[in-house]
């Protein structure tokens, strides 16, 4: 049996929560052969993997959102595109966004002679654009509108033109482009099944990104947002099962058009055993160590963390903040964080760069996470595994992880509002000045982890899902159970 994981902009190039999850998943099923289809920005990423690939991951395929059009040996060399009436209507439904006829869209892109360039430059695309323009956008410059629309559809068309490898189950790690690649695979291999696992809610994350983005003019933001909604809706429609990490995420999926019958909650899991016998804090260490296992990127809101820490540090000079994670994803933002630290003269802040979590986490007193957006952060679960409570912003499933969902283990940290420096600062001081409370919360977190968020739970859930999907596509599922 072959499972093809489809990931977008993460594994195996970038270290992070979703990448770690994919890596973990492949390792959890050593008896299953995995392929990976990975969607990246352009060819400059080609083969530049950060992770050491597991042995059961046998092939990696790349799809680029920006690429040239390779016309060699192709029937698409001429500048013309011939679309049937049905294909033109499908293209219209895709652009105007009313009940997209995805089946025809996929079939159209399965044609050998279809050219992304010719399609975007076609009279049909122009006429549909005019219709769309006349519906809602009559007051803006038409040529800008046309070229913007072309640039919006270019990455999608490049993705649709890609041919995923044949597999029995396609497992998209998000909706969006990855979801659409999974759907396209179904159009090529109808016996296969599609599973979508959402960590964050893709549509919401893109929406937040676009609202903040400076590279998109305001008037076009809606079109981009609608575009991602369409992709997600399409993916939900074709998927056999859609998983989410927690109840709130599942509700959002349903709100965004996912049929309720397809939704399943599959919490994250980590290898709790790996956190036994880790190095612990030196009793002579005078500092109160706060750990943040994060990529230094704007979505983690490191600047708020630094500011909040600074105000707490002014009142409790024994505090020391350890920011542990890669610094190479957004160098500009990293530099801004360094500048902020220099400006505040906050000497007790350490940027470690990329680390091995187990080497550091035991030495911390408690953890902190100030993200603007999260799913179900693995860093909180890793803290729980090391019996460390966490101060976290109220995003994603953080509230559920800290205060529990249908369990009586008690609080495992403090949940604070997003970007609220004073509350974060107060929470730091509260934990810094109450070691007994920290210990109690750490124990609570550990119990919660052992109850619900271990690898074994996740493996069992996904084994059941894979098995069900394998049966649905009449493929034999390898019964032997082994854990890496």
């Amino acid at each position: 049996m072959k499972i093809c994981i489809i990931a977008e902009g993460c594994y195996p190039y970038v270290i992070g929560g979703v990448s770690g999850w994919v890596h973990n998943m492949i390792n959890l099923f050593p008896d299953i052969e995995f392929y990976l289809v990975t969607i990246v920005a352009d060819r400059s990423f080609r083969g530049k993997f950060t992770y050491k690939l597991p042995k059961n991951l046998t092939k990696v395929f790349e799809i680029y959102l920006q690429d040239v059009e390779w016309t060699g040996n192709s029937k698409a060399k001429k500048n013309r595109v011939n679309l049937s009436k049905r294909e033109t209507l499908a293209l219209r439904s895709l652009i105007i966004g009313e009940d997209v006829d995805w089946v025809t869209v996929f079939r159209m892109f399965n044609r050998q002679d279809i050219s992304v360039n010719n399609l975007l430059m076609s009279p049909q695309f122009l006429e549909i654009t005019k219709e769309f323009y006349n519906m809602k956008y009559v007051d803006i410059t038409f040529s800008d509108f046309l070229w913007t629309l072309r640039s919006i559809y270019l990455p999608l068309f490049l993705v649709l033109k890609a041919v995923p490898p044949k597999a029995d189950i396609y497992h998209s790690v998000s909706t969006g482009y990855a979801g659409i690649v999974g759907c396209k695979a179904l159009s090529l291999y109808p016996d296969a099944r599609l599973l979508i696992s959402e960590h964050g809610i893709y549509t919401r994350e893109r929406e937040e990104e676009i609202i903040k983005a400076k590279w998109v003019q305001n008037i076009y933001k809606n079109i981009w947002i609608e575009q991602f909604r369409k992709l997600s809706k399409g993916a939900y429609y074709f998927a056999d099962l859609v998983t989410s990490l927690f109840e709130e995420a599942r509700s959002l999926q349903i709100d965004l058009g996912c049929p309720i019958s397809k939704t399943v909650i599959t919490p994250n899991g980590i290898d709790a055993e790996a956190f036994k016998n880790i190095p612990v804090k030196d009793p002579d260490d005078p500092y109160i160590n706060i750990g943040a296992i994060i990529r230094v990127t704007p979505i983690k809101d490191v600047k708020t963390m630094i500011n909040a820490f600074y105000f707490a540090y002014k009142k409790q000079p024994r505090l020391k903040l350890w920011i542990m994670g890669p610094l190479d994803e957004n160098p500009e933002y990293v530099e801004e964080c360094f500048e902020l630290v220099r400006m505040l003269k906050a000497d007790n802040i350490v940027f470690t760069g990329k680390i091995h979590t187990q080497d550091y986490i035991g030495k911390m007193d408690f953890m902190i996470l100030t993200s603007i957006s999260e799913g179900q952060p693995l860093s909180i679960l890793e803290g729980f595994a090391a019996k460390k409570p966490c101060i976290t912003t109220n995003v994603g499933n953080c509230y559920g992880l800290i205060y529990g969902e249908n369990d009586n283990f008690g609080d495992a940290g403090i949940v604070v509002p997003v970007m609220n420096i004073s509350e974060i600062s107060e929470a730091i001081l509260k934990l810094a000045n109450n070691p007994d409370l920290v210990k109690k919360m750490g124990e609570n977190g550990y119990k919660r982890l052992m109850y619900r968020y271990r690898n074994e739970h996740m493996e069992e859930t996904y084994r059941r899902i894979y098995k069900t999907l394998a049966h649905m596509s009449n493929v034999e599922f390898p019964e032997e159970k082994s854990v890496s």
């Binding site: 080609r46 990696v60 395929f61 790349e62 040239v68 059009e69 430059m121 009559v138 803006i140």
Partner: protein, 488 residues
């Protein structure tokens, strides 16, 4: 020639009878003054030097030499000139003035090389057939001089140097006349050779003055010579369209040069005097069509075209649709106006010609051929206006097909009509003009329907690479087991 239109706009906008007359005079002067100065100079030399007294063979040798210089220089330089004109306009728009000098250098070299490739074998043959080498060398230099004159006229037109160009022609032709007298009376050259040598010096002088004037504007040189060659490659259709149109203008003459009653001079030059003369008269009868096109049609259309283009760049769809509608309305109405005006003028000139020309010695055969050719040139010049509109819309394929139809039907039609009564000799050319006119008309209508596609669906949004796509799998344990990091 849109530049003249811009200047004319200022004149016509004042909207008085005086300014209207001044406007027409302005365009008339700047469009056909160069040609008139050459004809005037030739006539003056004929008269003053006593061309009538020259023997038949020598006279025909001179006439054919001048005829060949005019016809073949237009044929060999017109294809390149169209691209050189486009290149220079684009570079001025991009403000890359340093690229103009390389364009002039490459343009001159390609022009002279191509022209020489045709002229040298012909001159060698002429010398072998007994025409003196110095004579043929002078013809060759005169031919190159006129080729250069035509190409440098293009550069000066883009710079709107109409006054200077006219001045260069008038001064040089004046000097040509004086030189012919000096050669004849001081150096004792023969009448025809004095005229030929003076004319050659005159052409070279115009070319030099025009070239110097252009180079004065573009003092720096980017040494980017490849770019213009790249333009030749991209705009090969423009080259073909212009060449075919020019060939079509003369191909019917070539057919008549092959008739048994042609005139052969020194077993080298071939011509058909009655037909050639009738063609010249018919062309001259309709020459004002060009003036009208520039002074009225293009001027009105250019404004609407500009509005449409501005709407495309920064307008709403509604504005684009409105300006498009107005532009094509003006195009249609101006073409009809041109046809009306030119018809009246052609009829008037024709009536004058048939009355006056026989009294000054034009034979019956010329006058028999002349009427139908007048109709042919009338249609052809209206067709040429359509061709210029096709260029406006960058429809080079349409332009090329138009030229091809014109030439092919001109040859085929003339091959048939050469067997008819002399009254119908011009039928082939007229039919060719009508066919290409009809084609261009429907092509313009087709553009009207499809101009949005023409404007918005051209070009590429993704770079296209004529290679097979690199493998999608960058890692394959069954293949090499290695990660493929080649960028593809």
């Amino acid at each position: 020639m849109a530049g003249i239109g811009v200047q004319l706009n200022r004149i016509f906008n004042k909207n008085t009878v005086t300014t209207s007359i001044y406007g027409i005079g302005f365009s008339f002067t700047y469009t056909i003054a160069p040609m008139l100065s050459i004809i005037g100079c030739l006539l003056a030399m004929y008269k003053v030097l006593g061309f009538d007294s020259v023997g038949f063979t020598e006279r025909e040798l001179f006439s054919c030499s001048v005829l060949y210089i005019f016809i073949f220089s237009m044929l060999t330089s017109s294809p390149f000139n169209s691209v050189l004109s486009k290149y220079q306009t684009d570079k001025i728009y991009e403000q890359k003035y340093e690229d103009i000098r390389p364009c002039i250098i490459v343009g001159t070299i390609t022009n002279l090389t191509f022209s020489s490739l045709i002229a040298i074998p012909f001159c060698i043959r002429a010398v072998l057939k007994g025409i003196p080498i110095y004579y043929m060398f002078t013809v060759y230099m005169g031919y190159l001089g006129f080729c250069l004159t035509l190409s440098t006229m293009v550069y000066n037109s883009i710079l709107k140097q109409y006054k200077k160009m006219c001045a260069y022609f008038v001064i040089s032709m004046g000097l040509t006349f004086v030189l012919s007298l000096i050669f004849k009376h001081i150096f004792n050259f023969s009448i025809t050779y004095s005229m030929l040598l003076a004319l050659t010096v005159g052409f070279l002088l115009i070319a030099s003055l025009e070239l110097a004037n252009v180079l004065r504007y573009f003092t720096t040189n980017s040494n980017n010579y490849r770019d213009i060659l790249h333009y030749y490659r991209i705009y090969w259709k423009l080259i073909a369209a212009n060449f075919l149109y020019t060939l079509g203008l003369f191909s019917h003459n070539f057919v008549f040069w092959m008739q048994p009653w042609r005139l052969v001079v020194f077993d080298t030059y071939v011509c058909n005097q009655p037909y050639d003369m009738a063609s010249f008269l018919a062309m001259f009868t309709n020459i004002s069509a060009g003036v009208f096109f520039i002074s009225r049609v293009e001027m009105h259309f250019h404004e609407k075209y500009k509005n449409y283009m501005e709407a495309i760049i920064g307008g709403k769809l509604d504005t684009i649709e409105k300006t498009k509608k107005r532009m094509f309305q003006v195009l249609s109405s101006q073409l009809i106006t041109l046809a009306h005006f030119q018809f009246i003028i052609t009829v008037i000139i024709y009536l004058i010609a048939v009355t006056v020309l026989p009294t000054i010695g034009f034979s019956g055969l010329v006058m028999e051929i002349y009427p139908l050719l007048t109709v042919g040139y009338y249609i052809t010049f209206i067709m040429y206006s359509e061709l210029l509109f096709l260029y406006y819309f960058n429809d080079l394929t349409g332009g090329m097909i138009n030229g091809l139809l014109f030439t092919v039907f001109s040859v085929i039609g003339s091959l048939f009509s050469a067997n008819f009564n002399p009254l119908w000799y011009g039928a082939g050319f007229t039919m060719a003009g009508f066919i290409s006119f009809t084609y261009s008309y429907f092509r313009l209508r087709w553009i009207e329907k499809n101009i949005d596609i023409h404007v918005f669906c051209r070009g590429t949004i993704v770079e296209r690479v004529n290679q097979k796509m690199p493998r999608q799998d960058v890692y394959n344990i069954y293949d090499t087991g290695k990660i493929d990091t080649r960028a593809g």
